[in-house]
Symmetry: C2
Subunit: 359 residues, 2 copies
Amino acid sequence: MNTINAKFPKKSFNESIMEYNDEKIILLGHGSGGELTHQLIQNIFRKFLTDTSLDESHDSVSINLNLGSEYTAIMSTDSFVVKPLFFSGGDIGKLSVIGTINDIAMSGAEPIYLSVAFIIEEGFKITDLEKIVKSIADEATKNNVRVVCGDTKVVERGHGDGLYINTTGIGRVLQSKKILPKNIEPGDFIYVSGDVGRHGMAIMSEREHLDFKSQIISDCQSLWPLIYELQQNKIELHCLRDLSRGGLMTSLVELAETSECNMQIIEDQIPISEPVRSACEILGLDPLYVANEGTCTVIVPESQVLQIKKNQAFLNLKLIGRVLDKVKEKEKAKVFLKTLYGVERRMFRLMGDQLPRIC
Amino acid sequence: MNTINAKFPKKSFNESIMEYNDEKIILLGHGSGGELTHQLIQNIFRKFLTDTSLDESHDSVSINLNLGSEYTAIMSTDSFVVKPLFFSGGDIGKLSVIGTINDIAMSGAEPIYLSVAFIIEEGFKITDLEKIVKSIADEATKNNVRVVCGDTKVVERGHGDGLYINTTGIGRVLQSKKILPKNIEPGDFIYVSGDVGRHGMAIMSEREHLDFKSQIISDCQSLWPLIYELQQNKIELHCLRDLSRGGLMTSLVELAETSECNMQIIEDQIPISEPVRSACEILGLDPLYVANEGTCTVIVPESQVLQIKKNQAFLNLKLIGRVLDKVKEKEKAKVFLKTLYGVERRMFRLMGDQLPRIC
């Protein structure tokens, strides 16, 4: 059976590449599911990702959701294709954990479990992979989220842009806390949790090697602590939405259309840092459409406004607008921006793509 | 505010491309999270994927697991980078549903929920995307699995090989049914659920435009009906493993090492179809290392063998070997193949990658 022996020479070939190259790189064989995949998992992934579920070495894992009858499970998925992979304030690893944690948190849910799947380009530096896996592990630990399953595929050189990551998250939420766009009501108040546009502009400056006076650092961070705090303080939440791709305005248009309520936003109330504002002006970009990775809108009934105002924990929440009336049948809900010049402009979703590959 | 108006010309530019091209293609803007993403979701994804969870238009969805105290949840993730995207017996859409369903089923669990995340290359034909999304929807419906959340990213031309898909699945299993490699015991019997090597060789023939006399059709199919039937018939299952990347032998080596039990496999008992055998001989490949996408090993205690034998539903299960003794401390478990010539050969994991990009 020549065919059985035929594969053996490959081993020494692959291994000699690995040994004689000073810089160890990903080979196609790392995605074969065979010996090299096994080594990659043992030497890189398991070095940092240490959840007991991974010890089972099985095709799927059991997850204990501790769901009493009062809880419901929450699921969300996101792929990350950010370019460059390392940027000011994070890397694709941190981003892939935070992105999905935040999507789960937007249902008012506690993020608990994550799957992580890698699509790696042949030739990718193993030292870079190691940094990214470490970053995933650190961010998961910091946020008390367990990475319970994973997958690795390798694509040929020139076909994958280094690394793409998918994370899918599972969380849990009290069934009584339905936080959904449909809950938005006329008269609700609209907040943002911080200044907008930082993530997109951090990526952009990195990519274009722009040297702004003050470096712009991505806002990449978990929103769960804020949402947890709001819930602990019994603030009634109608809707939450993180302002990722498409930025603040695209998110608001989505929410307006889903809830069928018009909205009014006051431009000079929207927090934008000076470096982001200048960078956007130079590049001709609108900060209201630039992506964020740790900033959300919080929409609450009027009755909650005083409580939010008097609580030091919510100092960063800025009131930027209100929900107007419900639309008439078959009409599309509109978002109006009261501009710095006092005129009202109707806002739309982001058209085209002003900044591709930001997450 | 020039910056606000600056994005509008892009709309007509993008739209004119869309209108004047006979063949509609994916643009970078389809991944922006803005208007084009919205259109893609409404016109393509939602046309076929119709789960009510998707109506919520939210960052994450609630999933009702109906987990009484006797059930536990099961999670698995897999990315699919198969090349070509369409092959005999399926396409990347069907594969991405089946692959994750099978991983869930290998814990003896019923697959219930799926997330689907697309990484699409700019320029990808929308008609092809439509076929693939339809295929996902059809396969999910057929297998009674709900696609509850999704994500779309677009990468520049030349960076993504058409389409990559990640699916993550959630299932549920009776807590009493722990099906794990660690449960494998000396004396257990090892079955395969069908003939091996079909998926890998179907991809290979498609890729290399090989014209074998009889076309090889991928075994891509759900294994849950078989596992369900085994459980309904109260067959005690020690372990299940689908024979995907790395094929039969790599899976057995993994299981042997995890369970710390040696195994013996009888080569002439392993079912291999004639077309697969010939194709492998021509190409110098070993069918025992070629990937499958709808074939698994079933490992059971000896007490179950008669029940399996006398049940018509399990006619396709072929007995191929046995579990030998537990290894002594710190030894690595070995898999021995009793070859057609009567000699025993120690088998290893697949080295290198005889067939990259098969799933």
